[in-house]
């Protein structure tokens, strides 16, 4: 089994959408090469433990589970940790705004490392080619200059002033427009995107991706949308995000190597990849080795 670096071990890691885990029934999943079982007790609180080989069956009395892993719920998801996690999850303040539609939009398995999937989420250059006629369309392929910084106080990568011409930027958009994005990477395997909202100039739709690193080369992408959208139904919005990730999946699974190479001489960066470069550097400096190919020292 590959070793898990201490940083990764102590992080909160997403494992399931809260309302998808039925009370009293056991769900099985994999996190960082470890088999986990989870359920919810009678109060609805999640219970997570390491699944041993002897354990069987899909029903359990949660009271009998003694060796529990830490648990926290947030943004519609259950999070756990194999180490000593921080007190709280990273903040997404918008989530608490009363008039937003918050929803978890399902999960999709990807045969690629979690950091590769984060990088794809940060990347605008692929819109016209992979999300043709939805998030981009040829010939509008230009990625204009944008700003990237690593915020020290919040320990996150921040990309601002990201602009792209999109034929149908969101479910409620009907014609091509230039949309503006802000990307945050507040967690090595999670990213939050703010995008100008077609309905209200002053507010932003929030889309977040939480990646569950199952193994070094496999992950699950869990999606959150927090939208200001009065017309679309939840089903519409879910289907829209599912389409987008369904389009990314075959491309990501054809990416080699599957782990993200941190050596700058492994792949060719261009100016459009500024945020990805910052992300790789940030991972490197943190000492993350899970799901990446660390720089040879």
């Amino acid at each position: 089994m590959p070793s898990i670096d201490p940083i990764t071990r102590d992080l909160w890691q997403v494992i399931a959408a809260t309302d998808e885990v039925p009370v009293g029934l056991v769900e099985i999943t994999t996190l960082l090469d470890v088999r986990l079982a989870l359920t919810r007790d009678n109060d609805g609180n999640p219970v997570v433990w390491r699944r041993t080989d002897e354990e069987q069956g899909d029903e359990i009395d949660p009271e009998t589970v003694l060796d529990r892993l830490p648990v926290i719920t947030g943004y519609g998801y259950i999070w756990t940790s194999l180490g000593t996690p921080p007190k709280e999850l990273f903040p997404i303040p918008e989530y608490a705004e009363a008039d937003r539609k918050n929803m978890s939009c399902g999960s999709i398995g990807l045969a690629v490392s979690a950091p590769r999937a984060v990088e794809n989420f940060l990347d605008m250059g692929h819109f016209p080619y992979v999300h043709t006629d939805i998030l981009g369309a040829e010939p509008h392929t230009e990625v204009k200059e944008y700003d990237v910084e690593v915020s020290e106080e919040r320990d996150e990568v921040l990309a601002t002033r990201c602009k792209f011409i999109q034929p149908r930027a969101a479910k409620s958009a009907t014609e091509a427009m230039e949309v503006e994005y802000v990307y945050r990477v507040p967690h090595p395997f999670c990213s939050v995107l703010y995008k100008s909202c077609p309905e209200d100039e002053n507010r932003r739709d929030v889309i977040a991706i939480f990646l569950q690193p199952m193994t070094e080369e496999r992950c699950r992408a869990h999606l959150l949308q927090s939208m200001i959208d009065s017309t679309s139904t939840i089903t519409d919005l879910r289907r829209f995000q599912q389409t987008i990730f369904g389009q990314d999946k075959p491309i990501l699974e054809n990416q080699y190597p599957k782990r993200l190479p941190l050596d700058p001489r492994a792949e060719t960066p261009i100016r459009a990849d500024k945020s990805a470069i910052a992300y790789r550097r940030w991972l490197s400096q943190k000492g993350i080795t899970y799901g990446v190919i660390p720089m040879a020292s």
């Binding site: 990088e119 990347d123 605008m124 250059g125 692929h126 016209p128 080619y129 992979v130 040829e138 010939p139 509008h140 392929t141 230009e142 990625v143 075959p250 491309i251 054809n254 990416q255 080699y256 190597p257 190479p261 050596d263 700058p264 001489r265 492994a266 792949e267 060719t268 960066p269 261009i270 100016r271 459009a272 990849d273 500024k274 470069i277």
Partner: protein
């Protein structure tokens, strides 16, 4: 025998039939994946199956005929060289850095595509290959070690026809040759050839298929009982250090290449065509709009645009104007250079990059100015992007590259012998009103350039949408500034007063400074800038190169800051 990543043997990796028109085939050899594709000119490319940008398999890319386009971000790579020609995220930049994918040697023969892990060995036909009309069997993949597959194939030989083991995992008996393609330590593909076309191809294929399927089943059962061999572990080559950082733009310094004048012909009245071929292999990757410096026998250097289309790298074709009162440059070329002569040229440079992200592209050529625009039209043509090419000449006989123009599918409009006034109105209607993502490219005599620029501006075309190229610096040089230059390597600080160039001051101080045109057009005096802000006045560097503030032409450019530090 154990397989080695560096085995130089040629193996078959595909059948010719695996490469239909505009297809990309995923091949494998010695643990490596390969992207195999045939360009429209028939050339077969065998490349590392990985885009240099973000590692996506190129075998899922799109074969555009002369270029291969990656699915993820649309990077394009040229036929033959595998050099990157276009990065859609930055459509206005000419990729200045040499981004080139790894290629493997290739040969198409006897109905098969052959390749090798490196080019240490020249391709040699197997014994007895010549003089037959070979028939290729269907390939049979087998999950077993290649050497076991070979041994089993040898075992198929009838008792009275002993198997003949050939070099390179091959075996023959009777009129049948079997080649084992070593995919990996535990995987192989059997590729068979028959010496003659069978009378009944379908029955023959079925017969062999049955025999080989049985063999495969037997081999795979045996392999399942053995421990699986350790797969080969190919590594990806590291990029060069200058590709690893984000582009601080590196200006390629003049490597020269020797070429042979393969063909010289009269393309039109007053235009001589030259085909310049590599002495072996192919020439470097170029982008549409690129030019080469041609070093003439009399010591002069002249710039000529490349007219080629995508992926055409076996030779560059240029057009040279035969001027009546021409002195120097073109006169030497036209009069003294003959077919078979050797000339030296620079690597292609591009100051006239073509954006491929326009909804409408207007190309306007006057006379010999057709050359870069012909190349652009060919690239747009291959990618099925919309364009209109307007070509102005004084008379019909002066239309150069007529056959090539006729082969284009886009809108090509010839305007011959128009009176001056009409040229203006024709240009005006060719341009029309501007709307978003429209671009015009113009090349031709000075007055025509002016007309296009003025007309376009008057019709609402913004400056960034009007593209043209200078081979001569017609700008008035402003040499009024005064500043200091520090020569870092020579440990000298010089004062440049107004009215004098940096080059003159350096020469006065006893330094030897190479130069040629001394008007900021040829690139000979290109110098690296270490510190200070440059006041660029040349026409050699392109926009992004100028913006990088890392180099300058000392013959015309000056300083905006009080001090410049140069790497001299």
């Amino acid at each position: 025998m154990t397989l080695s990543l560096s085995d130089p043997t040629w193996y078959p990796i595909a059948s010719s039939d695996d490469l239909p028109f505009r297809h990309v085939y995923q091949g494998q050899l010695l643990g490596r994946e390969l992207a195999v594709w045939r360009a429209d000119d028939g050339n077969v490319n065998v490349w590392e199956n990985r885009c240099l940008h973000r590692g996506v398999r190129l075998s899922i890319g799109i074969n555009e005929g002369g270029e291969l386009k990656c699915q993820y971000h649309g990077w394009r790579y040229a036929n033959r060289s595998a050099g990157c020609t276009y990065i859609p995220a930055h459509p206005a930049d000419a990729p200045a850095r040499r981004i080139q994918n790894r290629t493997y040697p290739v040969r198409e023969a006897y109905g098969l595509i052959w390749s090798a892990a490196n080019d240490e060995q020249a391709f040699r036909p197997f014994a007895g290959a010549e003089g037959h009309d070979w028939f290729a069997l269907r390939p049979m993949p087998v999950n077993a070690a290649p050497e076991d597959v070979l041994a089993a194939l040898a075992g198929l030989a009838p008792d009275d026809q002993p198997a003949d083991l050939l070099p390179g995992l091959a075996v023959r008996f009777g009129g049948t040759w079997y080649f084992v393609q070593p995919v990996d330590a535990g995987r192989a593909v059997i590729r068979g050839l028959l010496r003659e076309q069978p009378a009944d191809a379908v029955a023959t294929l079925r017969h062999y298929n049955e025999t080989l399927s049985k063999l495969r089943d037997r081999l795979e059962r045996a392999a399942a009982r053995k421990p699986a061999p350790e797969p080969l572990q190919p590594t990806f080559e590291k990029l060069s250090a200058d590709l690893a950082t984000m582009p601080d733009i590196a200006i390629p310094r003049g490597n020269t290449i020797t070429v042979v004048v393969r063909r010289k012909w009269t393309s039109a009245d007053g235009v001589i065509g030259f085909e310049l071929a590599a002495r072996n292999g192919h020439l470097p990757t170029f982008q549409p709009g690129a030019h080469i410096d041609l070093h003439l026998p009399n010591g002069m250097t002249r710039q000529y645009s490349i007219t080629n289309g995508p992926g055409e790298l076996m030779s560059y074709i240029i057009g040279v104007k035969q001027e009546s009162a021409s002195k120097g440059g073109s006169k030497v070329l036209v009069e003294t250079v003959r077919e078979g002569d050797l000339l030296s040229i620079s690597e292609p440079r591009n100051n006239f990059p073509l954006r491929r992200d326009a909804v409408r592209t207007v190309l306007i050529a006057g006379g010999i100015g057709i050359t870069p625009l012909l190349s652009m039209a060919r690239f747009l043509d291959k990618s099925a992007l919309p364009y209109e090419l307007h070509y102005f000449t004084r008379a019909g006989e002066q239309v150069a590259f007529r056959g090539d123009l006729e082969a284009l599918h886009g809108k090509v409009i010839l305007h011959t012998g128009l009176p001056r006034a009409e040229i203006g109105t024709t240009i005006a209607s060719a341009l029309g009103q501007w709307s978003m993502a429209q671009h015009v490219y113009v090349c031709g005599p000075g007055p025509m350039l002016e007309t296009v620029r003025d007309t376009a501006t008057a019709q609402g075309w913004p400056e960034e949408s009007i593209h043209f190229e200078y081979f001569r610096n017609d700008k008035v040089i402003d040499n009024s500034s005064a500043f200091d230059v520090e020569l870092a390597r020579s440990a000298m600080t010089l004062h440049v007063p107004s009215g004098k160039t940096i080059m003159e001051v350096m020469r006065d101080a006893g330094l030897t400074v190479p130069s040629s045109c001394e008007q900021g057009a040829c690139g000979t005096c290109l110098t690296t800038v270490i510190e200070g802000e440059v006041d660029h006045q040349d026409v050699y560097l392109n926009r992004s190169e100028k913006a990088s503030n890392t180099c300058m032409m000392t013959c015309v450019s000056r300083a905006k800051s009080a001090r410049l530090v140069l790497d001299i």
